[in-house]
Amino acid sequence: MNARMLLALLRKDLKVYFANRFFALVTVLGLVAYTIMFFLLPTTVDETLELGIYMAQMPPALEALLADEEVVFYRAESEAALRQAVLDGEIPAGYAFPDDTLARLRAGERLPVTLYLSPELPPDFDGIYAMVLDEFGFALSGQTLDIAATEVTLGPDMAGQQIAPRQRMLPLLTVFILMIECLGLASLISTEIESGTLRALLVTPLTLGGLFAAKGIFGTGFAFAQASLLMLITGGFRTQPVLIATALLLGAVMVTGVAFLIASVGKDLMSVMGWGVLGMLLLALPSFSVLIPGLTTQWVKAIPSYYLVDTVYRVMNHAAGWGDVIGNLLALVVAAAVLMAAGIAVLQRKFR
């Protein structure tokens, strides 16, 4: 296949894609809507404090204090439960008192308390924890207690670097915009199969390999351009633009492979949408683990889009560099290659 043939096919795909009013509208509206959504999301973090506490036997005086305070307390059943609640993001911090707290207080011994902290707490809250602990002391004994507090931050310490919701949302929007282009490509191909136009193309000197190359370039290029545009508008390229662009390009190849798979099973727009939405939800799942930390567990790493989402999120919000995300990029290369190969293998059977 020569450049002239390739250009003719790309021009045709562009024309046919935008001739479908649904996808033309979704393409433009998607970009606009996701951009607006990004800017509507708050740039600041809600600093209302919730605290957890674990104490085997709660003295009545402390019970009364917890009930009176405006600070919302979460009573954990065990230290492990308290730790998990912090880890899951349900509460930002929690105090674990030893099981023999009352005995130690009676003996006048020093009280070791473990303070579990979420990595994303603002530093301003440090003083509040000490103050709250002093309050506990007064409630328990009517005087300042000798408390040895040990702070344990669960996960990377993000003190002072809270991530605004819109920054958390951006990886999800990126996956959505890639998937919209994926659905468009899948619909384009399945329509061409059903109308017989692909059959007409394949009885010219155009080879099957040439056809896949043209579709692959069109799908990848279009998805990459859309995702890049979103990043450009939302400031996603401010840090490590080449790294972000590389991740987006690999993501675009990956969704093009998914588009080939969907096109091989979809017979019309409705079936493409049906399969496509299923794929979209699956690929969007890893984004929710970024949006709501603790929502998902390790299994989410089995979904290839996790490596795109994690890369974009960490580069944008944690100043990660090439060395930090090279594993993700390699995983994306493998996922993109596998999905593309699977898509081509399945789809070419339909062409024949």
């Binding site: 020569n2 043939m5 024309k15 046919v16 109308s195 017989g196 059959r199 009885v203 000197p205």
Partner: protein, 287 residues
């Protein structure tokens, strides 16, 4: 000796247990129009798919312009034009855009969309989207698309089916023009009249086998009945129709006696149609 445009030897294809094309043999000379006739499911489309490189034969071989189509499908496809039975144009694009796309895929250098559209009677409509074309206009554009690379062999699958007489006549004229240019034309059709007036030879295919292959005239000679049909006035004022077979020793005497003793109102010679012959050979119609 010039090589045949199409040479088919023991070509075979089956879909599972169903033998669609069963060891067929034929050849076509350059500039010839061959009508490929048969009922639905007889093996016409499978044959065309193998000849155009869309299906790989399971046995036998086909060479087009000296090229083995199974081994060199792309070289073959560069020199042929195909007009499919079902309209498969990019409806969202204009006529000119459709033709330009295919001209580029063929690498056609002296391609002139306007001239080609004029040839098929679509001048002035080239920039309209194909979705606004009538069925006849789409069919003419399909033929124009098959001609963008000046093909040496044209495959036309039911090119006039469902068209009004004027559009059908225009397409038949185009087919004859292409033959004048030197193109070899493989015509698949249900229309026996069309085959009779356009084709140098016709092949009847039935259950995957070619059951007859010759010129329409020779087929009629071999399988048809030549006769004269006379209308004779009866004494009661009515008319009697009488058929007298030709090619018999007693025919001349029979006709002479009829003219001498009876009042002959009309006398016409008749011959069998291709459809009659197809039914006679295969025992079934074309539907």
């Amino acid at each position: 000796m010039t090589q045949p445009a199409i040479l088919v030897e023991d070509l075979t294809y089956s879909y599972g247990q169903n033998l669609a094309v069963d060891h067929i043999n034929f050849c076509m000379d350059e500039g010839e129009i061959l009508g490929f006739l048969g009922p639905n499911g007889a093996g016409k489309s499978t044959t065309v798919k193998m000849l155009t490189g869309q299906l790989r034969p399971q046995a036998g071989r086909a060479t087009l312009l000296g090229l083995d189509v199974a081994r060199q499908p792309k070289q073959v496809q560069a020199q042929i034009g195909i007009c499919f039975e079902v309209t498969n144009l990019y409806e969202e694009m204009s006529g000119v855009e459709n033709l330009t796309l295919f001209a580029r895929l063929f690498g056609a250098r002296d391609f002139d969309a306007g001239a080609l559209l004029k040839r098929v009677g679509l001048d002035g409509r080239g920039t309209d989207k194909v979705e606004r074309y009538s069925k006849g206009m789409k069919q003419r554009l399909m033929i124009a698309r098959a001609l963008v690379n000046h093909p040496k062999i044209l495959f036309l699958d039911e090119p006039t089916e469902g068209l009004d007489p004027t559009s059908a006549q225009a397409i038949r004229a185009l087919i004859l023009e292409e033959r004048e240019r030197g193109a070899t034309i493989f015509l698949t059709t249900h229309d026996m009249h069309e085959a009779d007036i356009l084709c140098n030879r016709v092949a009847f295919i039935e259950r995957g086998k070619i059951v007859a292959l010759d010129t329409p005239h020779a087929l009629k000679q071999a399988h048809g009945k030549r006769m004269v049909r006379a209308q004779i006035a009866r004494p009661d004022g009515g008319l009697e129709v009488r058929e007298i077979l030709l090619d018999r020793p007693e025919t001349a005497e029979e006709i002479q006696k009829m003219f001498a003793g009876e009042q002959v109102i009309t006398l016409h010679s008749t011959e069998a149609t291709l459809e009659d012959i197809f039914v006679r050979i295969t025992g079934r119609g074309l539907a």
